[in-house]
Each structure stands twice: as structure tokens, then as C-alpha cells.
């Protein structure tokens, strides 16, 4: 019982430590706005999400994920999220499968 408790405690700490998000934004660009009801730091902005699993083959180099829906052709904000599940997947597949969880905001198209 004691061991299970320790294991659960250890796992919880691991989960907490491995879940984080980082937000990067450009300072000299106009973010694309939107009328949303969101109440987080990206409120008022058009937030797009990328939630996928990338398979990396042994014989190919890593390929970039192409973002095609920014009309301006430029990114304003990128929020990267690392989750416990993602790390677990990475570990059990020896790095061949990676969870990519990214929120991004484009630069507003200039006219």
C-alpha cells in the first residue's frame, strides 16, 4: 500500500512537472482579431489550434508542419503545450511519435 502511494505521488509530481505551456509572440506585429468569448490571455484574438501526432521515420529528417491558414503568411503568437500523455507517447515509441499541441495566432493581413 505504502509503495502504491509513493508511486502515485511520484506519478503526480511527474505529471505536474511535465505539463507546461510556453507562449511566444512577436512584439512588432498586429495580431489577427476575432470576436470570441474566450477569457484567457488570447482573448480577442483569432486562435487556431494544431493538435496532432507526428510520426518521425528513421530514414527521414524531421519535416516541418506547414501552416497554411495565415493569410498574411506570418505568425504572431505561438503557444506550445507539453502534456504528460505526450511525453509518455514519446517515451514508449522511442521518439518516433510525438504529440504536437500548439495554439497560434496569425499576423493580421495588411491591406
Amino acid at each position: 500500500m505504502q509503495k502504491i502511494k509513493i508511486a502515485i505521488g511520484f506519478l503526480s509530481v511527474l505529471i505536474l512537472l511535465s505539463c507546461y505551456s510556453t507562449r511566444i509572440k512577436v512584439s512588432n506585429g498586429q495580431a489577427e482579431p476575432d470576436d470570441t468569448e474566450r477569457e484567457d490571455a488570447l482573448s480577442g484574438l483569432w486562435v487556431r489550434e494544431l493538435d496532432t501526432i507526428v510520426k518521425v521515420k528513421t530514414i527521414t529528417d524531421e519535416n516541418p508542419i506547414n501552416i497554411r491558414d495565415c493569410e498574411s503568411g506570418a505568425l504572431h503568437t505561438v503557444e506550445y503545450k507539453s502534456t504528460f500523455g505526450g511525453i509518455l507517447l514519446y517515451l514508449v515509441t522511442f521518439g518516433r511519435k510525438r504529440t504536437v499541441k500548439v495554439k497560434y495566432v496569425c499576423i493580421k493581413e495588411s491591406n
Binding site: G29, P33, D35, E39, D40, G44, K108, E109
Partner: protein, 538 residues
């Protein structure tokens, strides 16, 4: 062709969740792609045709139509329950050509820019920056649209400059569904453009000071503002200082704006005789619950542009900007609703994070000093304009109310603005002091009055103390307070409604009205308004 996405909705809310409000249709127009329509003027006119079509639909269905900007207003001024139109993607920008200048114009051609309504302050600043130009002033942040700014009268604290609408020199309005409903309006005493650009955009020209001043701060109700002609200026730098100075000095400066004869002196900011310079911007921060004998003040001085400013003084934009953890604020508010006596302690505890800290001087462009705002969640803001000579008395009356009948989870600030010519500008005094209280929304409890009650009491105490005042149209207030608009603006209210009635048909006046206008008693339509009110004056 410009296209409008129309979405059925049940509700809509402001950025800071001051609603929610009911809504039927949400519209958002996108311009035709540049590749499909390479001429900018064609794309602009194409967008105008689309807006006229949308106005036709609203008119035919006997429904209201309200253009919105970035929905940064906290009052319900941007709301209409029928149709709301998001303008932000209508963001074309045009420099003015020599051939488009009015022969009698006093403006420098290189300083005039024609901006479509949905341009946000930040993108305008970036655009101007590339041309070595700058806006003259902005609000404390940069997310509003140009049309949204002038419709409520957005200001900073540029003492001798004025508000955003004060550097607008021409307006392109769409006042109905027909081709002849496109208008270019400017002052007859200060013409900017010849008929060349108006002809290109198929606009009928009206040069008339009174009509222009009525339409300038329009509360969203003088037609659809399609384009705004602004006067920019050469790029400049601001040096920013935050200091804690004696409360008496800070308030004396607010009351007199006499910066020459004050003990507040920044050693680098003095004239040849060693007297303090008059700052470009002066702001005072006040914790209404503190007994501090010192106030935090912010002073900015205008300087010639130096391209090496970042090398010399560092980057004015912080590498990482810190904001107070929102959940922490919400927790405080939840506790405050039950234990209001804790509010002063919370405000004090947050003092260091809410108020700017005394630090090294910062040097940057206007757009870098008044930069992005972090989203602070469910916020409220009340903002009263008084003659700066009454500012100390008004602050005393309002903070006493806040202490006696509150407390309210917010802090006060004072900013200063030069008089505007716009009929309904809240900056109506020679120098208006805007006394603002900003904070986080709370719920009424048996120990804590509601925001509505608080805003009503603020009006009452200012009236009881015979302090003439105005209120920021985009902020929280008891807008239904009896005869409020007349009390604030006297005869200008009638003049504003008359000009509006003369310009708009009865049907379109209804389309461009909303509950806010009705509540504020500004929706009256005068059937027989004189045509002279909208005639060009030569």
C-alpha cells in the same frame, strides 16, 4: 467582391465581459483579395458597395445595424440586438497624394493618411513607422480600431494634444443603402482634400464645421464610418519617468498644470534656466484606500527622434511582460464579495503589481510606450471628465464615496487632455482631467453595492458638489440617469441630434440607433431638421 460572413448568434459580449447582450446576427466583412482586384481604390469601393448592401438588408427588415471595432468599450455602446458588424478586416491604408490636396489646405500632404475603419491602432502605428511618421496620441494601449476610438473619444494623457478624434481631419461616411449615401465630410475652415479622392471613392463632399464636429464623436450613430482621414506627424521619442512624489505636489500639478513652478523636477527635463519642462503626458495613480503621503506619477517628455535610441537606452518593450495572475485577482474578488473590508488590504497588497514601479527612464516611440494590454479578465472601468481646476475636489468627492459606501475593488488614476471641438467629446473643458477607476468586476452582496449603484452614486455626488462633469462613452456608468446627457453637454445635445436628423433619413437614423443611444436620451429624431445643417459652407 468583398464578402460578409453572417452568423446566427444568441448573444454577444464585450472584450471584458460587461454583458452578455442578446444578438441575432453577427456579420464580418472581408475585402476582396488583392490578386483578384489589384486596384486599392476598387477594393475600397467594393467594400463600400458591400456595406451599402448590408445596410439595405437591415433597413428592409426594419432591423438595427451596428458597426463594432475591437469591442473594447465596456458600456453597451457597441451593442445592437439585431445586427452587429465586425469591421476589423477592413483595414486599407492610403497615403494622400499631392494631387488630392485641397488648394487651401494648411496640412502637410506627407502627414495625411486615409485609413479604413477597421485599422487598429497598433497596425496604424507600424504602418506610419515605416514612413517615419507617428500618431499624435493614443490611449494607454493599442488594440482599438480607428473608427471605434473616435466614436467614443479615446484619449491618453497628452496634455496639449487632445484625443484621437482631434487629429481626424476628414470622414468618409456611408449613411444609407444607395450610391448617393456615400459622403466625404471635412471642416470648411480647415479643408484637407480637394474633390479628387472623394470622386475616386464616389463620395459626395460636404465641407461644414458644425456637421463635422457633430459626426466626429458619433457614438456609432452617425452612419457607418468607412474611412478616416488623419493627420500624423514626424516620428518622435518619449522619455518616460515614474516617480513617487508628495501627494500635495501631484495634486497641485493636476489642479494647475503649471509644471514650470513646481518642485517636481526631473534633472534631465529642465529648460535652459533650470525650470522643469512641461511634459507631453502626466498621469497620477491613486490608491483610494491608502493614507500614503506620496503618489505615483508618470511623466513623459517628447524628444526628437533618434534612430539609435534602442542602442543608447535599451528596448522599451520588455522581454517578458508580467501581469498579475488572473486567478489570484478572481480569488480576491470572491473573498471581497463576502468580506468587503478586505478590499483595501487586497488593493494595497497588489499595489506593487498594479502600479508602475519607479525605475530607470524608458525611451521609446509612442507606440512602444503605449503598447499591448494583457487581458485582465472581467474588468470594469468608470471614467469622469472634469475641468482640471476641479480635479482635486472631484477626486476627493469620488474617493470619499468609494471609501464610505464601498469599498470597490479598483484604483484611481488621473489623466489630462486638451479640449476637443467635437460636440459630444467628454474632453470638453479647456483641459479635462479624466478621473478613472479601473478594477475587476464583482457581484453585489448584502455588504457590497453593485457597480450600477456605484456609478449612480458617483453621478449624484458630483452633482451634489456642483462639479461639472462628463463621462467616457465607452466606460461603465449609469447611462439611464435622468437628463444625464443634457447635464453633461447642455445645448450640444440638441445640436448633435439636429445634425444627425438632418444627415440621416428617418429610417436610417433608426438603423443606426441602439439601446445605449435610447438610454442616454440621444435618439430623438427631428423630422424638420434644416437642410442648411448639412450644406457645404463656402
Amino acid at each position: 467582391m468583398a464578402t460578409t460572413k453572417i452568423t446566427e448568434r444568441q448573444r454577444w459580449d464585450t472584450l471584458h465581459k460587461n454583458g452578455p447582450f442578446e444578438l441575432k446576427l453577427f456579420l464580418s466583412t472581408r475585402l476582396e483579395k488583392k490578386g483578384n482586384m489589384p486596384s486599392s481604390i476598387d477594393r475600397y469601393n467594393d467594400a463600400a458597395t458591400e456595406i451599402r448592401k448590408l445596410l439595405r438588408e437591415a433597413l428592409d427588415k426594419n432591423e438595427g445595424f451596428r458597426a463594432i471595432g475591437s469591442k473594447w468599450s465596456m458600456s453597451s455602446i457597441a451593442h445592437h440586438e439585431d445586427r452587429m458588424h465586425f469591421n476589423s478586416f477592413m483595414n486599407m491604408k492610403f497615403p494622400i497624394l499631392a494631387s488630392e490636396m485641397h488648394p487651401d489646405s494648411d496640412y502637410l500632404q506627407e502627414n495625411l493618411f486615409f485609413l479604413q475603419c477597421g485599422n487598429q491602432i497598433k497596425e496604424i502605428s507600424l504602418y506610419l513607422q515605416d514612413l517615419g511618421k507617428s500618431l499624435k496620441t493614443t490611449g494607454a494601449s493599442n488594440g482599438q480600431t480607428i473608427a471605434g476610438c473616435i466614436s467614443t473619444g479615446v484619449h491618453g494623457s497628452a496634455i496639449d494634444v487632445g484625443s484621437v478624434q482631434d487629429y481626424v481631419v476628414g470622414l468618409n461616411l456611408i449613411i444609407g443603402p444607395d450610391p448617393e449615401d456615400v459622403i466625404y465630410l471635412e471642416r470648411h475652415t480647415k479643408p484637407a482634400l480637394s474633390n479628387v479622392l472623394p470622386d475616386k471613392i464616389n463620395a459626395k463632399v460636404i465641407r461644414n464645421d458644425s456637421l463635422f464636429n457633430a459626426a466626429l464623436v458619433s457614438l456609432g450613430s452617425f452612419g457607418f464610418i468607412h474611412g478616416v482621414l488623419i493627420e500624423a506627424e514626424d516620428q518622435f521619442l518619449l522619455t518616460r519617468y515614474v516617480r513617487k512624489i508628495s501627494k500635495d505636489t501631484a495634486l497641485e500639478l493636476a489642479r494647475t498644470l503649471d509644471f514650470k513652478n513646481t518642485t517636481f523636477k526631473i534633472p534631465e527635463e529642465v529648460d535652459a534656466n533650470g525650470s522643469p519642462l512641461r511634459p507631453y503626458h502626466y498621469k497620477v495613480f491613486i490608491n483610494p484606500y491608502g493614507n500614503e503621503d506620496k503618489y505615483v506619477v508618470e511623466a513623459l517628455y517628447k524628444k526628437k527622434f533618434d534612430p539609435l535610441y534602442k542602442e543608447k537606452h535599451g528596448d522599451p518593450i520588455p522581454f517578458m511582460k508580467e501581469f498579475v495572475y488572473r486567478d489570484l485577482i478572481y480569488l480576491f474578488i470572491k473573498i471581497s464579495e463576502r468580506f468587503p473590508k478586505a478590499i483595501p488590504k487586497f488593493v494595497k497588497a497588489l499595489n506593487n503589481t498594479i502600479l508602475p514601479s519607479e525605475d530607470e527612464k524608458i525611451v521609446g516611440r509612442l507606440s512602444e510606450i503605449f503598447w499591448d494590454a494583457g487581458y485582465q479578465g472581467r474588468a470594469f472601468a468608470c471614467s469622469f471628465g472634469v475641468d482640471h481646476k476641479d480635479s482635486v475636489k472631484a477626486l476627493d468627492v469620488l474617493s470619499q464615496l468609494t471609501k464610505d459606501e464601498g469599498p470597490i475593488p479598483g484604483i484611481f488614476a488621473m489623466r489630462f487632455i486638451k479640449k476637443s471641438d467635437a460636440l459630444l467629446a467628454f474632453s470638453k473643458f479647456p483641459f479635462t482631467c479624466m478621473i478613472e477607476i479601473d478594477g475587476i468586476q464583482w457581484k453585489k452582496s448584502n455588504k457590497l453595492m453593485s457597480l450600477e449603484e456605484y456609478t449612480k452614486r458617483m453621478i449624484e455626488v458630483l452633482k451634489e458638489n456642483n462639479i461639472p462633469f462628463t463621462i467616457h462613452w465607452g466606460k461603465n456608468a449609469d447611462w439611464g440617469f435622468p437628463k444625464l446627457a443634457e447635464h453633461m453637454f447642455q445645448d450640444n445635445v440638441e445640436a448633435w441630434m439636429k445634425h444627425r436628423s438632418a444627415l440621416l433619413s428617418k429610417g436610417m437614423a433608426k438603423v443606426f440607433s441602439n439601446n445605449f443611444l435610447k438610454t442616454a436620451g440621444l435618439d430623438h429624431y427631428e423630422e424638420n431638421a434644416s437642410e442648411d445643417l448639412i450644406a457645404t459652407i463656402t
